[in-house]
């Protein structure tokens, strides 16, 4: 099942000028430094809970050139929540040590993905793990392509809601009802599932900032496993 609503057809050129000239960032590479920092910052926002260890599996160009481009420092900086224009980015290893966040890097070969892709495995306080896979697609832009086994295509150009749910009737309509009550307009909605009636992952992009309290409202439905609001 897949629901994709086209954005306003009048707007053909849907890339903002500020995504072209910009971001204002710390060098040296928009794809290998800024994009990398954004990927791990988004992974941190997706899992929301504190984590003690993050493991970075580097694919393609990320694997070949990460040291020279400061990709390693940028990935750790993002995992600490630093933004890509923070001058503290270069000191992220030291900051991670001070904050007790452990990290490691390894090379990995992934099938059919962008050259600059990273598989991030976050180990939570209780020992459970979350896996987020994403690509840095150029100019500091990113795409999250997998969250805990679910295929996604989140660009985070717009505020986004990530919902983990059981694939049951009425869940989607209740969620869209809640969004409508808050006058939030859905730009795109995409649902992927492991099987009929099984677990599903729903990604909703919204025009405009999403209030955080919406998480609790959506969580009231018994078929919802988790809800994360990402305003980036």
């Amino acid at each position: 099942m897949e629901i994709i609503k086209e954005r306003d057809v009048k707007i053909r050129m849907d890339i903002s000028i500020f995504d072209v000239v910009g971001p204002i960032m710390i060098g040296p590479s928009s794809s290998h430094t800024a994009g990398a920092a954004k990927l791990s910052r988004v992974a941190r926002l997706i899992v929301k809970e504190p984590f003690t260890h993050i493991s970075f599996g580097l694919h393609g160009s990320f694997a070949k050139t990460y040291k020279g481009h400061g990709t390693d420092k940028a990935l750790v900086a993002g995992a600490l929540g630093l933004s890509e224009d923070s001058e503290a980015l270069a000191d992220s290893f030291k900051l991670a040590k001070n904050q007790g966040l452990e990290f490691d890097f390894y090379e990995i070969e992934l099938e059919g993905v962008h050259e600059n892709t990273v598989k991030m495995t976050l180990t939570m306080l209780d020992g459970s793990q979350n896996v987020v896979v994403g690509s840095s697609i150029g100019g500091g832009q990113i795409e999250i392509i997998e969250i805990n086994g679910f295929v996604t295509n989140m660009s985070l150009q717009l505020p986004t809601i990530v919902i983990n749910q059981y694939d049951k009737k009425g869940v989607i309509s209740e969620v869209s009802g809640i969004l409508a009550e808050h006058s939030l307009n859905i730009a795109t909605m995409k649902l992927s599932r492991t099987g009929k009636g099984d677990r599903a992952c729903c990604i909703i992009e919204i025009d405009g900032e999403i209030p955080e309290e919406i998480e609790q409202e959506i969580m009231r439905n018994k078929n919802i496993i988790s809800v994360k609001v990402i305003n980036i």
Partner: protein, 289 residues
């Protein structure tokens, strides 16, 4: 409103306005921001560009391996002498571009345009043009608007990633959009601006991304300097009346296809080209061991 360069050009010609006006309207529609807010964003980027284009002129920046440290300072001094072949002006433009590259490599603050590796070209061109002709701030910001609007189209229809399209997609696209900006800053027609964009891209087609030791330093800094000059000469060719017979969208498509045809060794992996030379390998070993 538009989804390629031809449509953007058609709108500008139909309404007899510069490209940047149409780009501004699209941005207002897309982002739901006011004209004032958009110019505020442009001003913020202009400031970062200006700072990074000047920072290394006087003070060399420490980088990993220091492959380009001091290049900007040295070239700035040379640009002031009577001995240059290209004249003080073009040499100063190159020094601006080198400065941005140096700041970027030193993990300093820059504005990607469209990427960090190519962050020196647009600032060098817009500062160069605006200083030479003593333009108002608004005219300079309009130049950034022209460049970013065309860049958005290329980003959407092709790529600006070195890992996907090679250096032509980064420094080449930067030169192409900066060339169009230079034309509009000199009050050339929208068609001239689009021609400048095509000509600059043609001049750089096929350029590979082969960074020595995987660092965004060499040949990146040199290519920022040379592509800033490519932007200006392409703008001059277009302002002088040269027409590119192949439409801009087809040029962009050709650039994209070439990028796809390039082997991964020549796309930001530091496995081929200049990066694979014995000297580059030796430098790489010295830096990382």
């Amino acid at each position: 409103m538009y989804h390629n360069i031809e449509e953007l050009l058609a709108l500008a010609e139909e309404r007899q306005v510069p490209l940047y006006k149409i780009i501004l309207e699209n941005e207002m529609l897309l982002s739901e921001k006011s004209e004032e807010e958009i110019y505020k964003g442009l001003e913020e980027r202009y400031r970062v560009m200006k700072t990074s284009a000047n920072k290394a002129l006087s003070k060399p920046q420490e980088t990993v391996g220091n492959l380009i440290t001091g290049l900007s300072h040295k070239h700035s001094e040379y640009s002031n002498t009577e001995n240059t072949l290209c004249g003080n002006y073009l040499n100063k433009v190159m020094a601006f571009a080198l400065s941005c590259s140096e700041v970027n490599a030193a993990m300093g603050k820059i504005c990607a345009a469209p990427t960090a590796g190519s962050c020196g070209i647009l600032p060098a061109v817009i500062l160069g043009v605006s200083e030479k002709f003593r333009l108002e701030r608004k005219e300079t910001l309009d130049g950034i608007l022209t460049a970013s609007g065309l860049g958005a189209i290329i980003m959407k229809n092709a790529t600006v990633s070195g890992a996907e399209g090679g250096c032509q997609a980064e420094c080449g696209v930067a030169a192409a959009i900066a060339a169009a900006a230079a034309v509009e800053m000199r009050k050339g027609t929208p068609r001239m601006a689009v021609n400048a964009c095509s000509l600059a891209l043609i001049n750089v087609m096929g350029l590979v991304c082969d960074p020595v030791a995987g660092l965004v330093q060499m040949p990146c800094a040199q290519r920022n300097a040379s592509q800033a000059v490519n932007a200006l000469l392409s703008a001059d060719l277009a302002l002088g009346g040269m027409v590119c017979p192949v439409p801009a969208d087809e040029v962009v498509e050709a650039m994209y296809r070439i990028g796809k045809q390039l082997p991964s060794e020549l796309k930001e992996t530091a496995l081929g080209g200049l990066a694979a030379t014995p000297t580059a390998k030796k430098l790489e070993y010295e830096i990382f061991h």
